[in-house]
Amino acid sequence: MAETKMAETLNGDSDQPLLTAEGLGKSYGHLMACRDVSFALYPGEVLAIVGESGSGKSTLLQLLSAQLTPSAGSVSYRMRDGVMRDLAALGEAERRFLFRTDWGYVHQDPAMGLRMAVSAGANVGERLMAVGWNHYGRIRDTASSWLERVEIDTGRIDDAPRTYSGGMRQRLQIARNLVTEPRLVFMDEPTGGLDVSVQARLLDLMRNLVSELGLAAIVVTHDLAVARLLSHRVMVMKGGRVIETGLTDQVLDDPCEPYTQLLVSSILPA
């Protein structure tokens, strides 16, 4: 993995934002799914976007990851060459390249992010092959070491994820995303649909990986426990707007907005 070590040196340059959103909005006809969102994300920083379903947080994640075109505002990203680029101005080839290398995207449903009929080894190796790795043995070794990192028995490397449990699938999806050592990972309800005990283990793993790799992450979740464990900062959304933002502990322990107070008290009892 020496090829991608330079990412770390770039991550060290943390006084410049990695991603910025300015006046971001998306409307469907008369429905404003998301409006006037502005913030900056710094290298190595984990931001949680919380809110109830329908609050616009998933729309926002899709806008930030250039999967939706905004109706208003813009998203900019600092490329590996240090230049800030407007995502809307990127060509499709550049966007897809970003997605395969410098970004990761962890779906709530691992079936969306994995090739379910293809072996775990190939699932992890795909990104490497897409950027030109051409040595079977090295691809396999790298895949194997990533399975270890996400606590999957390397003896299962040739099994397809459809034979995996829900928690294993989610860990495999994470390995598949992290193998190219991206600088930014988007996560959409990464623990949704998992048993509570499985959730705890996954969260623990994600927290360690994020800090080891110095990853920046944007995590969408309705579960404030996830936000508390993973994130440095929190944005609370309601009705398509960001109503409160701040350091995670501060927002969750001492919320200003009545809505956030309600959210905290109902989901985090005691």
Binding site: R115, V118, E126, A130, N134, Y136, G137
Partner: protein
């Protein structure tokens, strides 16, 4: 009733011009699949309509045509297509690889090296090398446009993980001119190296799927593989029972119901030429008789 009359080489000149434009574009972008308005031909789709349209579009009155199927001039479909052009274009036909100016083929590349000025026309059933990995045309076209071939490598990786080998025996994917991944049509992978730096022009026609693609002369064609699992040719390890050739692709002939087999050249012209030069195998017939077609 409308009595049908047909143009030289069956297709009308307008259609030929349309096909030639597609061919020129294909030559200009080696390995890229050019859509063309394939016509209904008087033989069924999947039986060589793409190759027949390409041949019809490039055939001139002075051309000498050879048609092979499975390497042989004598298989029924090769005969049928050769007769079609003998009738509609009145061109000379031959079974000799060296004498032919245009060779239409299904599933084989002749054993002998092709020379400059010759055109090899392949019949292609499924032109899209990514089709069985991604069924959607809109998606595969995007993958080609962006040069995203990771998925193809996933397939090769899976083969090795499962079988220890790249388990593709024919229609083995290649990269043309270091840009487009291309399906060489269902030729055995034994034939793949012949496409590389070939002196002849190679044209590929897929009628049902409405695509034409090309490899211009002396273009690089590389079979996909891994550094530590390099592409290998396959040929049954035996000399031809008729001509003794040790370097040709062989047909397996089951000779009785007790499992006896013999192996003979699939390229009949190559085999017969060698026999006429005095080469013999273990099962050779008496001195060679006259050729079936002149």
């Amino acid at each position: 009733m409308n009595a049908p009359t047909y143009n030289f080489a069956y297709l009308d000149e307008q259609t030929k011009r349309m096909i030639r434009r597609a061919i020129l574009k294909a030559i200009a972008i080696p390995g890229y699949q050019v859509p063309f308005a394939s016509r209904e031909m008087p033989m069924p789709y999947g039986w060589g309509t793409g190759g027949v349209q390409v041949t019809a579009a490039i055939l001139g009155r002075d051309d000498v045509l050879k048609v092979i199927d499975q390497g042989s001039d004598d298989t029924t479909n090769a005969i049928s297509i050769r007769k079609f052009f003998a009738k509609t274009a009145g061109v000379a036909t031959t079974t000799s690889t060296t004498d032919a100016t245009v060779i239409q083929t299904r599933h084989r590349i002749p054993e002998g090296a092709l020379h400059a000025g010759q055109v090899l026309v392949y019949q292609v059933p499924i032109p899209e090398p990514l089709r069985f990995l991604e069924p959607r045309e809109t998606e595969t076209r995007r993958m080609h446009a962006l040069g995203e071939y990771g998925l193809m490598h996933v397939k090769l990786y899976e083969d090795i993980a499962r079988f220890g080998h790249i388990a593709t025996a024919y229609a083995y994917p290649v990269k043309v001119n270091a840009r487009y991944v291309m399906d060489p049509s269902p030729t055995p992978k034994f034939d793949n190296p012949k496409m590389d730096n070939c002196a002849a022009l190679q044209l590929f026609g897929a009628g049902r799927e409405k695509r034409i693609y090309a490899i211009p002369p002396h273009t690089s064609v590389v079979s996909l593989d891994f550094e530590d699992h390099p592409f290998t040719r396959y040929r049954f390890d035996a000399p031809c029972a008729l001509c003794g050739a040790g370097d040709s692709y062989l047909d397996e002939i089951v000779t009785d119901d007790k499992g006896s087999r013999m192996f003979v050249c699939s390229d009949t012209d190559y085999c017969e030429t060698r026999q006429s030069q005095g080469h013999r195998g273990s099962e050779s017939a008496a001195p060679h008789k006259e050729r079936a077609h002149g």
